[in-house]
Subunit: 227 residues, 2 copies
DNA sequence: CGGCTTATTGAAATGCTTCAAAACCAGTGG
DNA sequence: CCACTGGTTTTGAAGCATTTCAATAAGCCG
């Protein structure tokens, strides 16, 4: 059974795994990877920790973040199932930021050597470019938009991202605490609560413990487009 | 004369040029590049514009930025002589952001085809990783530090960057208007003025039209380290 | 000198944070 | 079934950071 995990993996058709399988084979990949499961809130990678493995989030949600000396946490990106973390690990011996599980997660660790990496340069270049583009969006977001616009835009993005992965219903999962959103968008948890309450009060979204629903796309978009 | 520009170029020993010369030769590089000069405030690249050329800032200062539909400008990064823009051009047909000259500039355009790019993958991977790291720093900066800390940190960084390039004196150049700094750090030009005045009043820095001087490193560092 | 761009200053308004208290919620053990 | 707990969200009030608007000053160029 263990020998056929890759065969049946949802993620084998896209991204890193697809490239590796194309270059080599499913068996080759299977031999170089192992799955690890971790409970919610576990730190998956600490800055400075040398690692030979590039990882793929098989199931659950995770996030990358920087822990500042004053205890403050700045989230860099949100990882959904299928996302790779981190392309940088293939270029650098260690990273300067952390990864943590937001929910229970299953993570696939893949061991690649220099030649393996060389064989998938095309894919890696593209993945690195995506990483840059995503971070640029965050800079624009943090630098030039107000809290309301950031949260509205985030919910729209997340909705689109989940639908692109095949989600269909009205309700979408949201496995983040309000303080996670606060750390993501550089605002206080209190203010996150207020903004979300306001969006709800305006009938733009509906919110439940671990899920949300967009009630009025154009309205929410209008808020997201405000300065 | 034109045939020997690369030979005498200050930047030939580092970065992209060094990699290309190592892989091929100075003559090879010379044949694929041409220099362009542009006055201050010129737009060097507009988003969406297809370009076969990767560029190196030979002289002057420039910046990358996103122009938002509401007219607001978010600067992404500051380019100093020797900096490449942009690694992303080698992975994507077009970019989503702009480059503009802050001063009069000389820009070296280099035409590379797919094989040329493949030959310097090692260098490109590293450069892309650097790009990511720099943007992550900006996210942390914008997300979790106050205006004072951002400006203090910027001056310290810039000072270090210029000294790493060989600058020695007390005074360092600063070819940015206050509204450039505002667009860079997500604050209003008025507030930039106030913060700089305050830093000056605290005897931490000295400021003149196109240059600055750090008067008290530990003090400025202390401000930069504040939340 | 006049006209342009950039920087400074003040006053008022807005956005956001902090602190503190209360409400809510899920799980635990009685 | 209830009370208790710990983690999370909501709410209010006060204070701080930053923006906006508007007016003035300073610097530079022709």
């Amino acid at each position: 059974m263990a020998g056929s995990e890759c065969e049946h993996c949802v993620h084998r058709r896209r991204g890193l795994c697809a490239s590796l399988i194309e270059q080599q084979s499913v068996q080759w990949l299977e031999a170089r990877r192992r799955t690890r499961e971790d409970p919610a809130r576990t730190v998956l990678y600490e800055p400075g920790q040398p690692s030979q493995h590039v990882r793929i989030l098989k199931a659950g949600w995770a996030a990358s973040f920087v822990l500042r000396s004053d205890g403050r946490r700045q989230m860099l990106s949100l990882l959904l199932p299928g996302d790779i973390f981190s392309v940088l690990m293939l270029h650098r011996p260690t990273l300067t930021f952390s990864f943590a599980a937001l929910t229970d997660v299953a993570v696939c660790h893949i061991a690649l050597n220099r030649e393996d990496v060389a064989a998938i340069q095309d894919f890696l270049g593209g993945a690195c470019a995506e990483e840059v583009t995503g971070l640029q969006r965050r800079v624009v977001d943090l630098g030039s938009r107000k809290a309301q616009a950031r949260l509205a835009g985030f919910l729209l993005d997340l909705d689109a991202r989940l639908r692109a992965q095949g989600a269909t219903g009205d309700w979408q999962p949201l496995f983040m605490r309000q303080y996670d959103l606060a750390d993501m968008f550089g605002m206080s948890a209190v203010h996150v609560s207020r903004v979300l309450s306001w969006l709800r009060h305006e009938q733009l979204i509906d919110l439940r413990p671990e899920s949300f629903r967009i009630l009025h796309y154009p309205g929410l978009q209008a808020v997201a487009d405000r300065i």
